[in-house]
Symmetry: C2
Subunit: 547 residues, 2 copies
């Protein structure tokens, strides 16, 4: 007898599950409920429709109910909200625009309701000029506001991926944009010194950034809407985009007996089964295992949602696929720059008390003698023994390629020496004979082997000037152009001849522009008996972190 | 006591070894011999200096003898050819432009002499208008010929990487270019159906291609130089670039007792030691282990040469690094396209009699709704059990990124299900939620699991029309626009309603445009009891292979 499978949510996780399930089981009855008017839309494309790089609205609709029926015989029901689940009867209750309230029974149930934007409980947070960005109706409203000429300025609240993308795209649409972020940095997956580079790009492109500001409330002004900040400060604009994060859209499950986590995420095992038999869950609504540190994580990204949807279809069709966890590989375009990251950040490792080492290198995106090369800032996190834990990169070209290589390495539980060994494609327009990923592997290997000690920009304050020398090994010209206060200058190429200027009883804290000459200098000094450490990422990272 | 280390060859492998060795050993005496006038030059950049994208000649000189001495205290001796090695005395004999003949003793000897262009033994092959491309003097000669206006047309012989890059760059320099290739395809690492796409790009950009032509000889003509082909055919041009391959530059080792392979490559073990104590070898001159199939391989690429140089330095400094083999990851830019490959090709697997499966997919370089997306042709080779053996891709964007991901997977001995699981970075400008690498993993998983049978374009001839139906499941419009002779048309979305048109006693050979709808159709038919197979890569690959 053929199975009856119900799916709640018709976008990334839900639609992927439906399509895969039909391919595996021609005979199942598959019904997909979507409370909104559209299925299979490109959530991730929404901001670009505002900016105009996606010009036609229809491009956002990847599949239609008709298409899903023609190709996959899926019974797609839009404007149909599942309002409760009864696991004993194996039914769901549906509120349909067309059919009113009704019940539908299931043999298997797949939950992919996703997450909705957090709306804070603040005075005026229901103001009509406040917009959130989750779906097509949301973006239609924003588009209308912006193109009707009713929007010449916007305030974006929240500097996560969606906030930053919206700020970029509102700017591209010609608006005056201010972004307000509660923390001291944008884009939490990045550590501050890398996030700073991305923030700088936004400022260069004309987005006003306000950090460490808590919004107190909203009110109407004669110009439009006012956002109240601490100290009586009021910012006004024609519209506000609220993008301070998402929360799982699981309220309808409260009384179902399905186990939810502290923040409302559905708890699942490796098979993506909930605690109830025949009920599976995927996507933004679930809590997963963090692939790197093994703890619980909720990582609302489309790749994991799509993959989980496919796995659940496999399980229902009798295959034994499992979901092993999410490492959070992600990428964002910010005007002409790219930022990408995977695995754990330094912040996360610190928070969890995991022992780690880090290195920052600044390799060229491709052979520096071939036109168009630009620097990538690449930071690697690894255990003291060298197991790769995470990486982040920013730059203009080839950034996400390197992060993907490292994500693959993490998938296999790889070591920094694997990064050094990887045989990656090289021709001058694409890379260097020592790819940036090899380079960060080399630098990390040297740390793991104890051949070099490094220090980070934020440890400079802990240096005791009496016991140590801060040594700039860049050229005289570079030193005169700007240096870390308190440093003396001996260019690396002169070092061997000027060792007598350095007191062997003192710690030598070396730095150069990006860390490379400092490393060479460290090796010279170490082998002449000095106690030496090198600034990770060099003066460039030091400066960047000042931003 | 400090070691005395001699290095033969001052470019990729040699210079990398020298720099690393100094970092590890401040006290070693390091002498580097280079028979040419320059060290550390960008071999890989040479063609682009002709095309003009590298405008300044100095950009090709990555390091100078002075720089190597200042930074690393390397005693660099250019115009110094090592003409023999005496392993008993532990000396080399050097012919120096400055110092004449002399001997130098060693504790450790590193050989990185590289490979030189093959010059065939044909009438006229010493003609002064024939040029080869290995080093700076070579490229100076070509540049002079081309810019003095003495070159308006060129014939490139050989369609390997260097030949193709030279053809592209001579074209960019404004010359009329013909490329002659002895085989039926360009770029041997690619299988023919992918190489065809790259060849087409060359033709579109105005390079004349002649395949399966053997050059018989060369002679002067009043226009310049004539290249004699079979059947009395003569092609004339102002210059000829000879790029039919390279041969290890190891003649000077003939009487040294160092073991050389059949084609003159130096035999080494994992530690990159030759058969003689204290003699190491790296780079284009050595024979390595093929990382995928374990056989012997000679793969003249800069990445391996650089890595091997570093490993030999490690060994000499007492570290236990080893070289595990080369998989041949490579990439080439051809005008607006990119081709990249890693691991074994189908041709290689056939030649070695290794059992394999393959799949071709045509995913979009990034989300198709975001501007600028283009199709990637991605071919994967794997064992019947799913271990990844190799991959090739061509396209305009994101090609080498996907090949690198697969190269990393091969490094770890990964499976097609790993490709399906990989968590790669996704935002619309960069990829799709199901990355092309995931997609090829999915398609391959289906083959490994026996859920789908596929056939390849070159198996069509073996189909017996009496027992089988060739079924085009694309739209009517697409079918009318061109189809495989003998096929009938039932669009996939109509298939379920028209099963009665298909005889269940016959094999169904399905195809669509790229393989995806054919796969869906296969699943429908299979589950209705048909014996069905799907064309890998679809009509697109079929057409491409006709080229
Ligand atoms: C603006 C924006 C940009 C993004 N950019 C990226 C990006 O670049 N890269 C990336 O990886 N991810 C991105 N994401 C995240 C990505 O879209 C999500 O991770 C993914 O869509 C999650 O899939 P899902 O199936 O869990 O939820 P969704 O795709 O949100 O689908 C859930 C659906 O379920 C419906 N639903 C909810 N409850 C019910 C109910 N009770 N009954 C019926 N239907 C219900 C909802 O209406 C919704 O349509 C972005 C998201 C947004 C909003
Ligand atoms: C035009 C061109 C383009 C290329 N493009 C790419 C590319 O895009 N990607 C890629 O990965 N690879 C590319 N390569 C290949 C890459 O350059 C080589 O793999 C790499 O340089 C090999 O390093 P090696 O140290 O073995 O040899 P080489 O770099 O060739 O260095 C060997 C040196 O040794 C010297 N020598 C030889 N014999 C003696 C002797 N007896 N005494 C003293 N000196 C001696 C030679 O003069 C030579 O300078 C390209 C090569 C060429 C020529
Ligand atoms: C549109 C949608 C329903 C498609 O789902 P889907 O059919 O599973 O996914 P795809 O169209 O990418 O096709 C993947 C399938 O094609 C197969 N395939 C792809 N190319 C193939 C080829 N050339 N030959 C054979 N098979 C191929 C794959 O193996 C896979 O099948 P499988 O899962 O059975 O192994 C779903 O992705 C969706 O709703 N997307 C929009 C929503 C969304 O993801 N939003 C967030 C990101 S913006
Ligand atoms: C120029 C040349 C001598 C440089 O060799 P090199 O010093 O080994 O290589 P790089 O300059 O890339 O530096 C790599 C070193 O810097 C270290 N490094 C790089 N960035 C660093 C950073 N930010 N912090 C600390 N260390 C860093 C790496 O760890 C590595 O050191 P290690 O090998 O001791 O671990 C050599 O590459 C060469 O001759 N190249 C031209 C020839 C050639 O390769 N041709 C073929 C391709 S065109």
């Amino acid at each position: 007898m053929s199975k009856k499978v119900l799916i709640v949510g018709g976008v990334a996780g839900g639609a992927s599950a439906a399509a895969r399930l039909r391919r595996l089981d021609e005979h199942a009855e598959i019904i997909m409920f979507e409370k909104g008017p559209y299925i299979s839309f490109a959530n991730c494309g929404l901001p670009y429709y505002i900016g105009g790089s996606i010009a036609e609205r229809e491009r956002l609709l990847v599949q239609t109910p008709q298409g899903m029926n023609d190709r996959f015989r899926i019974d797609v029901r839009t404007h149909s909200e599942v309002i409760s689940v009864d696991p004993h009867q194996r039914t769901v209750q549906v509120r349909s625009a067309e059919r009113g309230l009704y019940e539908e029974s299931y043999d298997e149930l797949i939950l992919s309701p996703g997450a909705r934007p957090v709306v804070p409980d603040l005075p005026g947070s229901d103001h009509p000029l406040i917009y959130t960005v989750r779906n097509i109706p949301d973006i239609d409203r924003i588009k209308e506001k912006v193109t009707a000429g009713g929007g010449r300025s916007a305030i974006v609240i929240g500097g996560g991926f969606i906030g930053v993308e919206m700020a970029e795209n509102l700017k591209e649409a010609g608006l005056n944009v201010t972004l307000i972020e509660g923390n001291a940095q944008l884009l939490a997956p990045f550590d501050p010194e890398l996030a700073a580079t991305l923030a700088q790009e936004m400022q260069h492109k004309g987005v006003n950034l306000l950090f460490s500001q808590r919004v107190q409330g909203f009110r109407s002004t004669d110009r439009g809407i006012g956002v109240e900040l601490g100290g009586e400060r009021l910012l006004t604009a024609d519209l506000v985009i609220l993008a301070i994060g998402v929360t799982p859209d699981t309220a309808f499950l409260q009384s179902s007996g399905i186990q939810l986590g502290a923040r409302g995420h559905i708890a699942v095992n490796e098979a993506l089964e909930t605690n109830l038999p025949h009920v599976y869950a995927v996507g933004d609504a679930i809590e997963v295992r963090d692939y790197v540190h093994g703890g619980k994580a909720a990582i609302p990204l489309a790749g994991p949602a799509n993959k989980q949807g496919r796995i659940v279809a496999d399980r229902i069709a009798g295959l034994d696929s499992v979901y092993k966890g999410t490492m959070g590989t992600s990428v964002i375009k910010i005007f002409d720059m790219t930022g990408a990251s995977t695995g754990s950040s330094e912040k996360t490792l610190k928070r969890l008390g995991i022992d780690y080492r880090s290195i920052i290198v600044h390799p060229s995106s491709h052979a520096s003698y071939y036109p168009g090369a630009s620097a990538i800032v690449l930071k690697l996190l690894f255990t003291p023994e060298g197991k790769v834990l995470g990486a982040q990169a920013v730059g203009c070209e080839g950034v996400e390629k390197r992060i993907d290589d490292i994500a693959v390495t993490i998938h296999f539980g790889g070591h920094v020496s694997d990064l050094a060994e990887l045989e990656l494609s090289y021709a001058p327009p694409f890379s260097s004979a020592k790819d940036p990923v090899n380079m960060v592997g080399y630098a990390a290997e040297n740390i793991v082997a104890g051949r070099v000690q490094s220090f980070t920009y934020d440890q400079l304050d802990a240096r005791i000037p009496e016991n140590s020398v801060l040594l700039d090994v860049r050229s005289d010209l570079e030193h005169r152009g700007g240096h870390i206060p308190g440093s003396i200058s001996i260019p690396v190429d002169e070092l061997r001849g000027r060792l007598n200027e350095l007191d062997p009883a003192k710690e030598i804290w070396v730095y150069c522009q990006v860390g490379f000459r400092g490393y060479t200098a460290s090796q010279i000094l170490r082998q002449h008996g000095y106690d030496v450490r090198n600034l990770s990422g060099g003066y460039k990272t030091y400066r960047q972190a000042q931003f």
